[in-house]
Amino acid sequence: MSEERSGNIGDAQRRGLVGDEALPDEPAAEPAALGDEVSSLRMILTLGAAGALAGLLIVMVFNATLPAIEAHRAEAVRLAVTEVLQQPARYEALSVTEAGLVELPREDVQPANAVLVYVGFDEGGRATGVAVTAAEAGFQDIVGLIYGFDPQSGTLLGMKVLESKETPGLGDKIQKDARFVAQFAGARPPLEAVKRPKGEEGEIDSITGATISSRAVVRIINNSLERLRPRIEAHFQEVVR
């Protein structure tokens, strides 16, 4: 696959880069049939030009598709947030920083780097809860989810798995098993995944045959809340006040 291995380098290049000494392991006269000699400058320039063209093409397509892609992304976020915040009237995204939750500076949206949470409001404009995304290792690979949390009552509003590679038929029940998902609405963290629920607060009845995935969901929410809860509560105190 190496491109230049079988080629021959141009005269200019040879003179410019290796001086006049002949390369020892090279026949003096190379057969002429093997193509015209190309200056390395031209090579580089061709490459650059091709690159520029490629860049141009890509950016044009990018610009053309960006609205649609953004729309899909926003829609996906809306669906998820609406679901885990129990149909808020509207929501707004905040960025999580060391200091707390801050409003997004509008200009440079950097969804890739910023950690976002979404605060939902009811018709009356009261903040009803916050939707948080989190991801950690599950049974197979990373499980990514979003959950809604109401700091005022201290309970969860809902949970939705966004991304998982858990075993179809087993682990993917964390996504597909409505009974399992429904348990999160109203549960009071810190949660605990158990086999046979005894009716205590914060208990989540784990899925038979997928205990590990169930526990992973619980663990992800617990860890995430543990980290963010003070900041969320602080923010809510501000908003409520």
């Binding site: 080629g7 061709t46 490459l47 690159g51 890509i58 598709t65």
Partner: protein, 235 residues
């Protein structure tokens, strides 16, 4: 290089030189995304698009590409088309885009595409290059759909998300897991080899009277028929 007819250019890649089943190229996407027909089809078509696009461009531009950097330029071209495909898929079919994940991007390194550029598009007129690309791309898609079909039918009991066996079908989960990919392709290859062998035997049986080509009887439980394959041992 031997002369071929346009039909040959078109049909070759479809079956006789199928990139996945015969040449074993581009196996990663062929196994990674074929856990259902939908994904297989999407992946196949995306690859088809990239292949046709880049073959077209390469054979159009081959005069201006210096031999020394041709491969770099091919990669650039392919990468461009892949990015385009990636963006378009994300814009038009976001669910499938999500399911295919990184493997759309990995079309860039699908050896099959680079191979076609190097072996065909860079030396042939535009029309032929396109025919070849269409054939190969279709062959790739065909192989993917075969794999995806098998895996989806057994692994989910459905085809293109249409349930086939009713609700109490017990899906073979393994088929949509990684081992299922390897095993399905393996079995497919076994089947092909068996078919091929039978075909050859028939041809032989037609020409040579029966009995003449019988295997030497393995004595004492040792199949000695493979001793012929040991010639390499001096090397």
């Amino acid at each position: 290089m031997r002369q071929t007819t346009p039909q040959q250019d078109l049909l070759r890649g479809l079956w006789r030189e199928n990139p996945v089943l015969i040449q074993m190229l581009g196996l990663c996407p062929a196994l990674a995304v074929t856990n259902n027909v939908e994904n297989s089809l999407a992946m196949g078509l995306a690859t088809f698009f990239v292949l046709c696009g880049s073959s077209l461009l390469v054979s159009l531009c081959k005069r201006w590409i210096p031999g020394e950097i041709r491969i770099s330029v091919y990669i650039l071209i392919i990468a461009t088309f892949v990015t385009v495909a990636d963006l378009c898929l994300a814009a038009l079919l976001p669910d499938i885009h999500k399911a295919l994940g990184a493997f759309i991007a990995l079309i860039v390194v699908n050896c099959m595409i680079l191979g076609r550029q190097e072996a065909f598009a860079s030396r042939r007129p535009v029309g032929r290059a396109l025919l070849d690309a269409v054939g190969t791309g279709a062959g790739f898609t065909l192989a993917l759909v075969m794999l995806g079909g098998t895996r989806e039918v057994l692994g989910s009991g459905s085809f293109l998300n249409v349930p086939l066996f009713g609700p109490s079908y017990e899906p073979w989960v393994v088929m949509i897991l990684p081992p299922g990919g390897f095993l399905t392709l393996g079995v497919l290859l076994l089947g092909l080899a068996w078919w091929e062998e039978r075909r050859r035997e028939r041809v032989k049986a037609g020409g040579v009277p029966a009995g003449a080509d019988m295997e030497p009887s393995p004595a004492l439980g040792m199949s000695l028929s493979e001793r012929a394959s040991s010639r390499g041992d001096a090397a």
